[in-house]
């Protein structure tokens, strides 16, 4: 069955069964590989995307339930890495393997949209569904504070790292 999905501001038509999780429509049909598969049962948060700005686990969100909601993936947070969360993640150098980080950043962006100046406790509550197998949690906390600073001081800038692309 064909479904219209609004992903990162663009409308796509996907011809898939209603029960196919949004994760696999994104990855295998729309070829957006940034959203990751980790557990398939909403335990790890690697597949976190936004539906109308609200963080959701794409691995347990059937395509048939998305409707007209706007889907934002890591690719849509900003394609050039200019979103304060992306800038902060690069400045704090959060990742080790990096596999969970798209999900971490999507959860962090949703937190900051609702709570621009979160406390450590706010962070721990909002981020508790995102596992990091490498254990980067201390830097996740630091990066969210940094992103909060960047967003509120409106000084977000493009990530400047040598050798990209």
């Amino acid at each position: 069955m064909a479904y219209k999905l609004n992903v990162n501001g663009q409308t796509h038509t996907v011809d898939v069964p209603a029960e196919m999780p949004l994760l696999w429509a994104l990855r295998d049909v729309l070829d957006l590989k940034g959203t990751k598969y980790g557990c398939g049962v909403a335990q790890c948060g690697a597949c976190t995307v936004h539906l109308d700005g609200v963080p959701q686990r794409a691995c347990v969100t059937p395509v048939g339930t998305v409707g007209a909601k706007k889907v934002t993936t890591i690719e849509g947070l900003s394609s050039e890495g200019t979103h304060p969360v992306q800038v902060a993640w690069a400045e704090i150098d959060v990742p080790q393997c990096g596999y969970c980080q798209a999900g971490q950043m999507m959860s962090a962006a949703a937190l900051l949209a609702k709570t621009p100046k979160p406390t450590d406790k706010d962070i721990d509550t909002a981020m508790n569904g995102n596992l990091c197998r490498c254990g980067t949690y201390l830097r996740v906390r630091a990066a969210i504070h940094k992103a909060s600073e960047l967003a509120t001081s409106a000084s977000a800038k493009t990530v400047q790292v040598a050798g990209k692309e």
Binding site: V16, Y37, W89, C100, T125, R133, G135
Partner: protein, 747 residues
């Protein structure tokens, strides 16, 4: 002829040992399977060619090849940093390119055993220094001046006397035709002149990671590719009898269904990497179509001889073995039984730890194209060389016809030292006749791992009237084959494990039972369990001796001579002075001995592994109902003269602490009716952000030794540090992992 063959083999074995030693020690040569894996079908070590690593464009942009697999340990930064610093270029002008697998160009390409730093510290800097020498020689020729009058910096060669200066880019075409100078003759930088080594260089792929670009093995796509799932027999060694294959073939999106049957293994001890198992592969348009079809799969299995095993029965048998006489003696120094008889005080305790899974967040996967007797693979293996050999054997083709691209891995932790998923993808692609991306589900991943083997240790120690350790006995109950005295993979106990040689009377005995699941190396193999056992028990002995745990450890470290092999000659074992250094440092930085509120306590642990010296102090609070909070962890580490990438080193050390805490609290794999019970993160948990320590403070003790690895040796001491802190805070001694079994949970 026969004699010559034997001689040649023994020569090769010696060669392997020597090269392991040259890389920094026989110890890890014995402990780390990837060294063995590299020996399988590996090319001989050849002199490195600068042109395989460094390319400078006319505009001065320098491309450096990163040869090793990047699993999150930061090696894609670190090895190019070594080259770039000696090449004398600015890091901002460096582009790093991930190598494909090609051991004729790069020699060893692996990620395991914390070996990247010690094995590459000299050769990678030599490659950079050789490149620099080539640019200097090119400029000397162009200007007709002696090379000795030239200096370099920021990718330029300068002749001070004449004021001439030229960029590497302008010399690149000349250098491209020059041979690599003899690496051994090169002068390398004074460490005081490092501009890249020893500084923070953020994760090279950071922009791709934060913008969600395809980067990992699971992100690979190739034209005409089908997505595959592979339902293996839940019991290791089983095989398919029959299945509803016709029904599955009709399901939406399904293109092919294949029964995979491989020879049955009959060894008493499960081999290191048995490779492709038996089962049913489903190939479909998308991975989800394949997975949805798998949920309808009904298979009649022949489970084979492992069907009857269960962890519960094995625990009962282990308890019997602990009471019985040991099956064999591994090491006997002095007279441990006699020393314990005459000791002023004797302490006895039994410790245990379970099997655990690696649970890399990116599940195992591999993409394969098989055509005309050759296979091309995209893999995130930690040992591509071993993988190549396994694939070649599986497909019955020569190793040279296995081509491998290396992708970033979503975590390694030792899981990808074995290459079963690679063999499976290659085999399925060959059977299917189309390109295949095989992705394991989380359930596949957790139930078909090479688990860290669990074990039991019954320890007895005696102290004299002065509180000095005089005797130590350990009955190690593990897995393997009694008749051949062979341990299962990663289930052995090294005969030089601390406190051997620090106590005059030391006895290590072993008993084993058969285990019918795969086992293997998990980050800091054996150390991740042994440090918990040994350093917790040492605390028990210190307390029985009426001594402070730090003071007791320092006295104990004073009691051993330098490490020596059976012939009395020095071997690269633990240097007690270096270990004392980190113990003293961590005690000082943590304020060891300070007064703490009721319910809060500090504990210490130290451990030597992978040539690294680490000591940690944990401060924890235990509240009502055994709720545990980790307030802070102090880390002191001595891994030589340089911390090559400070940002990466800090991050990896944070991770090692948190990884250790996950192992401690909540991870356990059990078997029932031959199959693994835990299938996802809800049953084999890891630390979440709210449970992470409030702070981790790291101190590096820079010593006059070549730099060594970090990813593994940082981990082991955190478990006993926390266990000993729990005792200090609550009076409760934890002797089994995970501690959730004793009613502990995160506050």
């Amino acid at each position: 002829m026969k004699k010559m063959m034997i001689d040649r083999r023994s020569f090769l074995q010696v060669g392997l040992k020597v090269s392991a030693l040259a890389g920094g020690g026989v110890m890890f040569g014995l402990q780390i399977p990837n060294v063995v894996a590299q020996g399988r079908g590996g090319a001989p070590q050849t002199p490195l060619n600068v042109h395989n690593f460094i390319t400078v464009a006319a505009d001065g942009i320098v491309t450096i090849v990163a040869k090793n697999p990047e699993t999150g340990q930061g090696v894609k930064n670190m090895l190019p940093m070594m080259i770039a610093d000696e090449l004398d270029v600015d890091w901002k002008n460096v582009r790093v390119e991930q190598a494909d697998f090609d051991d004729t160009k790069y020699n060893a390409q692996s990620a395991g055993g914390s070996t990247a730093t010690p094995n590459n510290w000299i050769p990678m800097r030599q490659v950079g220094a050789a490149g620099r020498a080539m640019f200097v020689a090119a400029a000397a020729k162009q200007w007709n001046v002696p090379a000795s009058e030239l200096t370099t910096g920021s990718g330029r060669v300068t002749h001070k006397a004449s004021g001439k200066s030229i960029g590497y880019g302008e010399l690149a075409s000349t250098v491209a035709g020059m041979p690599t100078p003899d690496l051994a003759t090169l002068k390398m930088k004074d460490p005081a002149d490092y501009k890249i080594i020893g500084h923070n260089q953020p994760t090279y792929d950071i922009k791709k990671i934060v913008t969600g670009k395809p980067l990992f093995g699971i992100d690979v796509t190739t034209p005409g590719m089908l997505n595959a799932v592979f339902q293996k027999c839940p019991v290791f060694g089983g095989k398919v009898v029959s299945a509803n294959i016709d029904e599955i073939k009709k399901m939406a999106g399904v293109k092919q269904v294949l029964v995979i049957e491989r020879p049955r293994l009959t060894e008493a001890v499960v081999p290191r990497d048995p490779g492709c198992e038996n089962g049913i592969a489903i190939l479909a348009e998308t991975w989800w179509h394949a997975e949805a079809a798998r949920k309808k799969l009904q298979v009649k299995w022949d489970f084979g001889p492992n069907e009857t095993q269960s962890s519960a029965d094995q625990a009962v048998k282990a308890a019997e073995m602990l009471k019985a006489a040991p099956q064999w003696n591994v090491r006997n120094d002095g007279d441990a039984d006699g020393a314990l008889k005459s000791a002023a005080k004797v302490v006895e305790a039994t410790y245990s730890y379970p099997h655990i899974s690696h649970a890399t967040l990116e599940p195992q996967n591999c993409t394969a194209i098989y055509k005309d007797g050759k296979v091309e693979l995209w893999t995130n293996s930690q040992t591509p060389q071993g993988g190549r050999q396994l694939v070649a054997e599986t497909l019955g083709i020569p190793a040279r016809d296995v081509k491998m691209h290396m992708t970033r891995a979503g975590g390694g932790f030792g899981r990808r030292l074995t290459n079963d998923y690679m063999a499976e993808a290659a085999y399925i692609a060959k059977q299917a006749g189309v390109p295949v991306k095989l992705v394991w589900s989380r359930e596949d991943d957790m139930t078909h791992d090479y688990y860290r083997p669990g074990g039991w240790q019954k320890l007895t120690a005696g102290v004299d009237a002065n509180g000095k350790l005089v005797g130590w006995k350990n009955h190690f109950v593990s897995w393997g084959d009694t008749a051949s005295k062979a341990f299962a993979q990663s289930a052995a106990f090294g005969p030089a494990e601390f406190p051997q040689r620090f106590v005059p009377n030391y006895k290590l005995d072993a008993s084993v039972q058969r285990l019918g699941i795969k086992t293997g190396a998990l980050r800091a193999p054996s150390s991740n369990a042994f440090a918990f056992v040994i350093q917790s028990f040492i605390d028990e002995v210190a307390i029985a001796a009426g001594k402070d745990p730090v003071a007791f450890r320092l006295e104990l470290l004073d009691a051993g001579g330098p490490p020596a092999g059976p012939d009395g000659r020095p071997v690269p074992g633990m240097n007690a002075e270096r270990m004392k250094g980190v113990v003293k440092l961590v005690a000082e930085k943590s304020g060891w001995g300070k007064k703490l509120p009721k319910g809060t306590g500090m504990g210490i642990g130290f451990h030597f592994s992978h040539q690294g010296y680490f000591a940690q102090v944990a401060e924890v609070t235990v509240s009502a109902g055994n709720k545990l909070k980790i307030n802070k962890i102090w880390v002191a580490g001595d891994i030589g003269s340089q911390i090559i990438n400070a940002s990466g080193a800090e991050n990896i050390t944070h991770g090692a602490m948190i990884d250790g805490l996950s192992e401690m609290m909540s991870q356990e794999i059990t078997i029932d009716k031959g199959a693994v019970v835990q299938k996802n993160y809800d049953k084999h948990g890891m630390v979440r952000i709210s449970q992470a320590p409030g702070a981790i403070e790291i101190h590096w003790l820079k010593s006059n030794n070549n730099p060594t690895g970090l990813g593994e040796p940082a981990l082991p001491p955190v478990l006993p540090a926390v266990a000993n802190a729990i005792f200090a805070a609550s009076g409760k001694r934890v002797r089994q992992l995970p501690i959730s079994k004793d009613g502990f949970s995160w506050a």
